[in-house]
């Protein structure tokens, strides 16, 4: 079974530029998550999708960050305009809704963003 795919793996941009990340979850996983991991910190949830609907975006800086999952499969996360403090690894994860209270999240390798 293929894992969660993310691209690009690395991105370097200048502040005030825009950038987009792509995620393809594991086939059949209805729930998709985007996390931001700043160096020395744990991953922080930015947004959670259930199929193509947003479940939780309370920690997404909506003035500059946006995300979509139009057909309930792939997802893109965009930052516009980027700030220096956005330098981080952006992790995508997905989970299968088995009906249990908690379902394991499977993570992709992440996209390392450097904002200069």
């Amino acid at each position: 079974e293929a894992g969660v795919a993310q691209s690009p793996r690395y991105k370097i941009i200048e502040k005030r530029q825009s950038v987009a990340f792509w995620c393809n979850p594991i086939s059949g996983h209805a729930t998709l998550y985007w996390y931001q991991q700043i160096l020395g910190q744990g991953p922080k949830l930015l947004i959670q999708f259930q199929n193509n609907g947003v479940v939780d975006d309370s920690q997404l800086p909506k003035d500059r960050f946006s995300a979509e999952r139009l057909k309930g499969v792939d997802s893109t996360l965009k930052i516009q305009p980027a700030k220096l403090e956005d330098s981080a690894v952006y992790l995508c994860a997905s989970s299968f809704n088995s009906g249990r209270v908690y379902n394991e999240q499977f993570f992709g390798p992440g996209t390392r963003l450097t904002v200069l």
Binding site: T31, P43, A93, S95, N97, V101, Y102, Q105, F107, G110
Partner: protein, 115 residues
């Protein structure tokens, strides 16, 4: 507001000995706890979990202990192997309206197992 805290940024142990990684939390609504392991340039992978109705869960060399009254959990690795060298994240989940509830992660502990 750091609801999940791993106070030790790093831990070094000898191969064959026990590794103990600690985690504290403040939110009493958390009811499910997980440990993830992360190698460089890879995403975190699930290691072991425990529900708040238990105080211990064991899976091979890995055991997680939960002390609800102290809001503390720990991961024991026995015996430790060089391949266990990685960053270990503690994470907690609270009941949500949908399955796959939000995870709150600690800062991580870098474990180094020396041959």
């Amino acid at each position: 507001d750091q609801q999940v805290k791993q106070n030790s940024p790093s831990l070094s142990v000898q191969e064959g000995r026990i590794s103990i990684l600690n985690c504290d939390y403040t939110n009493s609504m958390f009811d499910y706890f997980l440990w993830y392991k992360k190698y460089p340039a890879e995403g975190p992978t699930f290691l072991i979990s425990i529900s708040s109705i238990k105080d211990k869960n064991e899976d091979g060399r890995f055991t997680v202990f939960l002390n609800k009254s102290a809001k503390h959990l720990s991961l024991h690795i026995v015996p430790s192997q060089p391949g266990d060298s990685a960053v270990y994240f503690c994470a907690a989940s609270s009941p949500g309206e949908t399955s796959g509830s939000r995870l709150t992660f600690g800062e991580g502990t870098q474990l180094t197992v020396n041959p």
